[in-house]
Structure formats: C-alpha cells, structure tokens
C-alpha cells in the first residue's frame, strides 16, 4: 500500500512541477539571451575590445572616449531633437484625429485603415518611399516646379541642418495612425454619462474636452509616450533607408553610431559603451512604467 501512496504523492508533486517545467525553456532563453547578453555587453564596455571581444579590463576609458567623440554628441543631440518632435507631433496628430473621428463621422470605417496602414510597413519601405518623395530633383519640389510653382524649395534631405527633420516626417507618417488608434480606444472607453452631465451643466465643447475628456485619457497618453519613446531610442532602419546617416553624419542616431563603431570601425569597446547608454535611457523610461503596471495588477 505504501507504494501506492508514494505514487499519488509523486503525481501531485509532478502536477506542481509541470507548470514550472513548461515555463523554464522561455525563462532560460530569456536569462541567457537577454540578461546574460546585457551583462556580457556591459562587461565588454569596460574592456579594450577592438575587432573581437577581449577580456582585459581597462576601467571607464571607453565611456570617457565616447563622451569625448563629436560623432557621439551629434548622435545624442540628434536623438534629443528627433525624439522630442516625434513624440510631440505623433501625440498631437493622434489625439486630433481620434477626437475628430469620434464625432460620428460617416466613413470612419474607411478612414481608420487609411490612417493605420503605414504601421504595417517596414521602415525600409517607408524610407524608400520618402527618400524619393523628398528628393528635390524628382520628388515634391520637382513636381511643384512642373505645376508652375517655380520658387518652391524643399531640399531638407540634402541639407545638413534640416535632414534630421525629414526623419521626423517619415517616422510620424509611419506611427501617428497607431497613436490615433490608441486614443480612439481610450475615447470609446469613456463613460458617456459623465459627458452628458457636463453638457447639461452648460460646458462648452472646448472646455468639455480640455477639462474632462483629455484628463480621462491619461492612461492612453502614458502608453503612447512609452511606446513612442522606446521606438525613438531604437530607431535604426529608417535612418539607414532614408539618409544612411547623412548628409555627412548629419542624421546619425545612437543606434547607427553603435553599429558602425562596433562592426565597421572595429571599436567594439566603445560600441558596447554606447549600447549600454542606450539601454540605460530605455530603462529610465520603462522602469517606472513597468513598476506601476505590475503593482496595479496584483
């Protein structure tokens, strides 16, 4: 009889262990390929690695060098300009379109997919389309000249000082529709009773939105910010396809800097240090958000 009891005991134990066993491959992959790799890259950022990884610790030299490089400063200040404009414009367009679409619009079912479809495209495709559209020789400027507006000039993509703004235009084109969808979902989730009460109290349309609706959209604002901010820091493909980082180095971002220093200039230690800075930037944005998300759900 003892063996039978053992057997039952074993089966309950097994039942307890199965969930953990099932979860373990993903956890193992994550620990190695995400967190292990992060630690490895952090370690490399303190070594004198050039073309291949080396394990000689040289202290914070790479970070000192990195912040002394004008190319890195260009990349960081470009990111600041790009991220600020990208997040602000996407949020403004997304919110405006969502509010307008929410006014019982005929043809909403037609318009929504038109606003959203760019998010299905690869940044390489978006870059190809906009590179051409913005090229003064054959794109918009050329077309305006053909239509008789001879003095029209739009050569930002060839202009060192303006090229970064073309990245903003293309990136906004790609993601603002998605932000619209997030705000629209938020608007549709608002209880109409609140609005009716406010209208009876004689609130004007403008103050209705400013005082009541927009504050209620706080969660949507937060999600939009987090998603856009992390996309901005990770931006790589679009720059490669649209400007290749040029003219000169005018549109380098940290992501393109890291790639070229690590893999084409053989400065792996410096490249690793730049990747660590990128990770820390994202962590600073994500940590408070994730923390509050996980706490709320308990």
């Amino acid at each position: 009889m003892a063996s039978r009891a053992d057997d039952a005991d074993f089966r309950t134990k097994l039942q307890e262990w199965i969930p953990k066993l099932v979860l373990s491959p993903s956890v193992a992959l994550m620990l190695v390929f995400v967190y292990g790799f992060i630690l490895y890259t952090i370690y490399l950022s303190f070594t004198g690695s050039k073309m291949l990884p080396k394990y000689d610790l040289i202290g914070i030299d790479n970070y000192v060098r990195l912040w002394g490089l004008s190319a890195w400063w260009t990349a960081v200040s470009n990111l600041a300009v790009f991220a600020t404009l990208y997040i602000t414009i996407c949020t403004a367009i997304g919110l405006t379109l969502a509010i307008l679409l929410d006014q019982k619009i005929r043809g909403e079912g037609m318009l929504r997919p038109i606003y959203l479809y760019p998010m299905a495209l690869s940044f390489i495709v978006t870059g190809t389309a906009w590179k051409w559209f913005l090229d003064p020789g054959i794109g918009l400027e050329h077309t305006m000249h053909l239509w008789g507006w001879e003095s029209f000039e739009f050569g930002w993509i060839k202009d060192r000082n303006m090229a970064i703004y073309t990245i903003v235009i293309a990136a906004v084109w790609q993601t603002s529709g998605f932000v619209m969808a997030m705000f629209l979902a938020g608007l549709r989730g608002i209880d109409n009773e609140i609005l009716k009460a406010a209208q009876i109290d004689g609130a004007s349309n403008w103050s209705l939105y400013r005082r009541i609706v927009i504050p209620l959209l706080r969660p949507a604002f937060l999600s939009a910010f987090v998603i856009l901010a992390h996309l901005a820091v990770k931006s790589y493909d679009l720059v490669i396809a649209l400007t290749g980082g040029g003219p000169g180095r005018a549109t380098e971002l940290p992501a393109t800097f890291m790639y070229s220093y690590t893999f084409t200039r053989n400065q792996m230690g410096t490249g690793a240090a730049s990747a660590v800075i990128m990770l820390m930037t994202i962590a600073a944005i994500m940590m408070p958000y994730l923390y509050s998300e996980l706490k709320e759900k308990k």
């Binding site: 994550m30 690869s122 549709r188 990747a275």
Partner: protein
C-alpha cells in the same frame, strides 16, 4: 472600436462639421500619397519618371519593373531579383511566428492560472525584455550564433526572433488569460483534469482573438525586421535587407521604377495580413494592452 460602443461626440454646427471632414480628408491624403506615388511610378518606364511628373499616371503602362524586381534585378553582386530573399523571409517568418506564439500561450497560461512565488518577477523580466534596444545584444549574439554553427542561416534568424518575440506574445496571452475566470480552471482541476488537458480543452478554444493579435504582431515584426537580418542574415538575408541593397546600390543607373516595385513586394505580405485581419488586430490589441 465597434458600433456597440458610444462615441464621445459633441453637437456641432454645419461649418464645424465641414471643417472636420476637410481635416480628416487632408490627413487621409497625407497617409496615402507616398504609397500612391510608389505604385504609380512602379508601373512607368524609367524615362517617364526621370523626365516627368511623379503625380501623373503612366502614359505607357508596364509591369516590366515588377518582373525585373522579382527575378532579375541586381541584389548585391548577383542578378537574382528579390525572389530568393522573399523565400528566405517566408522560411524564417513561419517557424518564428509559430514557435513564439505557442510559447507565449503556454507561458501566459502558467503565469495566470498556475501562479507561484516569484512569478511576477519572471513576468517583469520578460516584459522589460520586450523593450530593450537590440544594440545591447548584437555583439554576444554574433558570437553565440557562430559557436552554435547557425550564423548566417535561417535557423539562426528563427532563434533570434523567437527569443526576442516571446516577451510580447507572453504579455498578450497573460493579459488575455487574466480575464478568464479562474473558477472554471479550479473546477476542472477538482474533476481531475491535468495541466495540459485544461489548457487544450478550456483555454485554447477561447484563445482565438488573442492568437490573431499575437500572430499579426509577430508576423509584422519578424517580416519587417532589418537590424537582425542585416547583422546575422549572412547567406540567408531576408527581404528587407535585400530591398535596402537594391535601393541603395550605387552602381549603374538608378532604376527607380524597379526600386518601387521591390518596395511594394516587400510590403505586400504585411499589408495583406493587415487588410484581411487588421480590424481584429486593433480590437484585440486595445482590449489587451491599453485597458490591461
């Protein structure tokens, strides 16, 4: 997002409404224009592009650029067209999506219905892994793929996409299963159903909507990825990398019409998925992530 939910519309006058429609239509134009220009110009002979107006319809319609982009355009050093790269992308995307979605579903199930000490920490770690800048893993990944002998191959790319996709799929399924009544799972347990039977018989049958979200998300991300493809593609480069090689090659005459045809070919699978199932995607995504 459907007709069932009410809008927050306010009453507005006729002039305001006209203005609203005008703004909405202008934005529709903004979103459509670049793609329209690509389609129109991919159907023109080259001399009509360099000499003519990008907005005008072709005078001579031709599908030659499409054929060229597909099967004979110069990609890198070989005149293969995009066809082999399209196949690479397909061979990569199908297993990567299937494996990461499967893992995500079972992870979500464990993390909501078989909770244990520390499960929240694991979930937090998974969640953060969704947002890391991939530059932080590029160097060790290159080394490891080489050691495993799958550098520059389709299995290597599949592994990479599974690893960095499973966080998102787990997030989707976890949020979805969290709303599923745990009492039903308890009842089944009391009836003697085991871990896998409960998953197959009770949770999977109701997982349709979130599976659509997970599959579309992963399909779009994996198909559109450029960074991993360019870093680890080697002999098996995906479509996005090939397209970039085609468009940015500096040798010979720039055949814009072929570039556009190629770009649309690269966009076609995700656009199709989006057109067929996009509405379910947005609906599921909003239910899962924003309201959480």
């Amino acid at each position: 997002m459907s007709g069932a939910t009410q809008s927050t519309a306010v009453s507005t006058g006729r002039i305001t409404r006209t203005l609203i429609y005008l703004v909405l239509l202008l934005f529709a134009l903004f979103y459509l224009l670049p793609f329209f220009v690509m389609v129109v110009n991919s159907l023109k002979p080259l001399d009509e592009i360099t000499g003519g107006n990008m907005m005008s319809l072709p005078q001579t319609w031709t599908i030659q650029p499409w054929l060229q982009a597909w099967s004979s355009a110069q990609i890198g050093v070989e005149p293969t067209g995009l066809r082999p790269y399209f196949l690479n992308s397909l061979l990569m995307v199908v297993p990567a999506v299937a494996i990461s979605t499967g893992l995500g579903a079972i992870n979500g199930y464990v993390l909501t219905k078989w909770r244990f000490r520390g499960d929240n920490i694991i979930f937090g770690l998974l969640l953060f892994s969704c947002f890391i800048p991939f530059q932080i893993v590029l160097i060790p990944m290159a080394t490891i793929l080489g050691k495993l002998g799958i550098a520059g191959s389709i299995p290597g790319l599949v592994l990479v996409h599974v690893v960095y996709g499973v966080g998102f799929t787990t997030l989707y399924y976890r949020n979805y299963y969290a709303a599923f009544p745990t009492e039903l799972v308890r009842a089944a347990m009391i009836d003697g159903a085991g871990f896998f039977r409960i998953f197959w018989r009770i949770l999977l049958p109701v997982s349709g909507p979130i599976t659509v979200v997970s599959v579309i998300w992963q399909f779009t991300n994996v198909w559109n990825d450029f960074l991993f493809g360019a870093s680890f593609g080697g002999q098996s480069q995906p479509m996005t990398v090939a397209l970039n090689n085609l468009v940015s090659s500096s040798t010979g005459v720039k055949e814009y019409n072929v570039h556009f045809a190629g770009a649309i070919l690269a966009a076609l699978p995700t656009l199709l998925v989006y057109i067929v199932a996009g509405r379910y995607f947005v609906r599921g995504l909003m239910a899962g992530s924003v309201k959480g």
